[in-house]
Symmetry: C2
Subunit: 115 residues, 2 copies
DNA sequence: AAAGTATATAAGTATATTCTTATATACTTA
DNA sequence: TAAGTATATAAGAATATACTTATATACTTT
């Protein structure tokens, strides 16, 4: 199990680096929160830019980063593009984060128990 | 509750940005995994550098970033400095991440239910 | 078809990140 | 005290990030 984990962690670290990079920006986090908190199911890029105080190109670039990181999906509908959460990918991201923190916290507990 | 959440999210976004920035580096993630997986409770900086293939200054700089982000504690013992996880802070970090993903996933579920 | 709107992309700039090498600091031990 | 070891810091270089403004692309509507 430890060997599996050790090998797994190299790949996992690279995947988590990409995920954390995508999340490591306050404007992208605000975009995400806006997407969760609005009454609207779908919000256009221009609306999101307005809501977060970003210019349209800046919002577009941030959304692209979130899409590339498999956090969002884009769906074109006429003139507008609606970004939505990539539900399954978000679940998968969360599992990886839980694994990382699980490793850390179980190590903390082992030490507290006196090895 | 929604107003509380909206205000909370601005602060939270800035805190999560700092946390995610600290975690958004493959070498720092590998350092973390090495710290969780070793048999040793405490590992010196030089040992960690060797384990991850980093130079001593690079490892030191990464560890400083993890310490500044309240992920690690440093404890000087004679000639060596031992880094350990900041257990309580890690729990607090995890709670914030869980809140973020909780918002996202509950939004996903709301949409699936048809608003 | 022309004009208007929404979004993306391009190019440039300012800043941040992550290394490197060299050196300083703190401690230990001979 | 001098020499050795561990760690941190400093300074510089290469690269990445995040914005800006300008423009291209895709679609809609008149």
């Amino acid at each position: 199990m430890l060997r599996i984990k050790t090998e797994y962690c190299c790949d996992l670290s690279e995947e988590l680096e990409e995920l954390f990079k995508a999340l490591a920006n306050v404007n992208r986090l605000l975009l995400i929160y806006k997407m969760t908190s609005g009454e609207m199911e779908k919000v256009s890029v221009t609306q999101m830019a307005r809501m977060t105080g970003l210019t349209q190109p800046a919002a577009s670039q941030h959304l692209k980063i979130l899409k590339t990181a498999n956090i969002l999906n884009a769906e074109k509908k006429g003139n507008y593009i609606y970004y939505t959460f990539n539900h399954n990918a978000v679940i998968s991201h969360k599992e990886k984060i839980d694994f990382l923190f699980g490793c850390v916290l179980s190590k903390c507990n082992k030490i507290k128990m006196g090895k």
